[in-house]
């Protein structure tokens, strides 16, 4: 038995030469639409569940109830300003965290004794809940943004360090041999070989670091709700709980999800895609171009 290539499950059907441009554009559109479709489906499920559920409306608000609350929150600007404040804090803090964590990770990667000594400590610090830092941060910095940034940094840095370290660990040893043979100084080795080689693993660490940064920020924003510190979205979430206002809680959750999706779609996914394509890899489930 033989099979024409089109009927052979191993291969794609014979097709005319494709226009790579058109294909890529449709993929990019898809990467924005697909999550939208997912969200619409989820909201529909939520609406149906809230109809079907025997729970009181104030305990399980329907999407309609939640979105009815939206205009008021948008009108007084509190949701938008809280999101903006938190986003700014998270992004700026995150950049600082990356700038601090990267050299520390490189030092740990190159100084065996230090890594043996501090490596487990770094992993353990990752496990420490952010609120554990709050008392110390307050004593040092009072009610200032510095306190919030301290909590955020301490939450994000260990995770980024670990991400880069595990990226470095996975570098094939022959790249180190290559550096040595090419006569690279340690510094040149780091810049030209180690960092780019560790990049795919590092980006994974960066994504997790971002999650840690954001979640630590939420914890830090509970220190003070309003007052001298501008209220972020974490404060708004706490306020929703305090006022037993589940629609508000839901709106905050949705805002956070929205921010998360946007950051993923605008920053991490394209970064990762470019990086992988650059080395002839492809994100699982996405076809290689060409």
């Amino acid at each position: 038995m033989t099979a024409l290539i089109s009927s052979n499950p191993l291969t794609a059907p014979p097709v005319a030469r494709r226009q790579p441009g058109a294909r890529q554009r449709s993929t990019r559109l898809g990467s924005v639409f697909a999550p939208l479709v997912a969200i619409v489906v989820l909201v529909a499920i939520w609406q149906i569940a809230s109809w079907a559920s025997p729970l009181r409306a104030d305990l399980f608000p329907s999407p309609v109830m939640v979105f009815q609350k939206l205009p008021a929150l948008l009108a007084d600007g509190s949701l938008v300003s809280a999101t903006a404040i938190s986003l700014w804090r998270a992004l700026s803090g995150y950049v600082i965290a990356v700038l601090i964590a990267t050299p520390i990770a490189l030092i740990l990667a190159h100084w065996a004794a230090l890594r043996r000594g501090l490596g487990p400590l770094v992993s353990a610090m990752q496990v420490l809940p952010s609120i554990a830092w709050v008392p110390a941060a307050i004593i040092l910095f009072g009610l200032s943004d510095a306190t919030i940034y301290t909590v955020l940094l301490l939450g994000a840095i260990p995770s980024i360090i670990n991400g880069l370290l595990s990226g470095v660990d996975m570098i094939p040893p022959q790249y180190r041999a290559l550096s040595q043979v090419l006569g690279a100084s340690r510094w040149q080795h780091i810049i030209h070989v180690e960092l780019p080689a560790a990049l795919p693993g590092y980006v994974g660490g960066l994504r997790q670091g971002w999650a840690f940064a954001w979640r630590s920020l939420m914890a830090a924003e509970l220190i003070a709700v309003g007052g001298s510190l501008a209220p972020g979205i974490g404060s708004l979430l706490q306020r929703g709980r305090d006022l037993a206002d589940l629609p508000l809680v839901m709106l905050v959750i949705l805002s956070i999800l929205l921010v998360g999706i946007l950051i993923e779609l605008l920053i991490f996914a394209p970064l990762e895609r470019r990086l992988l394509q650059n080395r002839g890899l492809a994100r699982a489930g996405e076809e290689k171009s060409g």
Partner: protein, 245 residues
């Protein structure tokens, strides 16, 4: 069970054609060698036949149980020992579990690696890795066997020995074998038919049928080798001229 290529073309995304209208038919049990300069598209052609790359144009017909394939760069799984790499191929062919260990040992012996079965790929030399890959491709019990420069990293003596093994395996099983090589004499020694590819784009520029009488006659086979080399050299010089324009 024959393989048929009809006007198969291939390009990797860009404009440049790597394979240009390759048409040929490889009948059941045939032993075919593909010759060509480095970078002419030999591996690409083999990948198309194996169904790993869809052709950009044209169509091809292959046996629908696929083909055993030996990659140019060994492509061993780094977390498995040499023996386990071979065993995996057996397992995925539904080779009876009880007889696998014995078969693995047999295959390792065939490629003269019986002492290195429990080493990981990173503990093997380049030639040893290639031989493990060879053993793995033989482990797959398929009618078609595609091999991409199976002996490139081997010394002459080991290579001679493996040539014999491969030949007797072919004679015994009647497999259809397509193998890529850059070694003209190797092609003449093993193949029934030689396809010569041009470079950029890869086209079939020469097809030679090699009879047993020719193969066993030293003078004739040296002459043929010289002739094929000349063809290849002419082809390459044409390309160089194109570059200089």
């Amino acid at each position: 069970m024959s393989i048929e290529l009809n006007e198969v073309s291939l390009s990797y995304g860009g404009d440049e054609l790597v394979l240009d209208s390759i048409s040929t038919q490889i009948h059941d049990g045939e032993f075919v060698a593909v010759l060509g300069a480095s970078g002419c598209g030999k591996s690409s052609l083999l990948n198309v036949i194996a169904g790993l790359l869809p052709p950009s144009d044209g169509w091809l017909q292959v046996p629908d149980d696929g083909a055993a394939f030996m990659f140019q760069d060994a492509n061993l799984l780094p977390w498995l020992t040499a023996a386990a790499n071979i065993e995996l191929a057996l397992k995925l062919c539904d080779y009876p579990a009880g007889q696998r260990a014995a078969r693995v040992r047999q295959l390792l012996e065939l490629v003269q690696l019986d002492h290195a079965g429990d080493r990981k790929p990173h503990e093997l030399s380049g030639g040893m890795r290639q031989r493990v890959a060879l053993a793995r491709s033989l482990a797959q019990d398929r009618q078609v066997l595609l091999m991409d420069e199976p002996f490139a990293a081997l010394d002459a003596i080991t290579r001679d020995m493996l040539h014999e093994q491969l030949h007797s395996l072919w004679a015994a099983t009647g497999k259809t074998i397509v193998f890529v090589t850059h070694n003209v004499r190797e092609a003449i020694r093993l193949a029934e038919r030689i396809l010569v590819l041009s470079s950029r784009p890869g086209r079939i520029i020469e097809i030679r049928r090699i009879s047993d009488t020719l193969r066993n006659d030293p003078a004739h086979s040296v002459a043929l080798a010289d002739e094929l080399t000349t063809i290849l050299r002419r082809e390459q010089m044409k390309n160089d001229r194109v570059d200089q324009l």
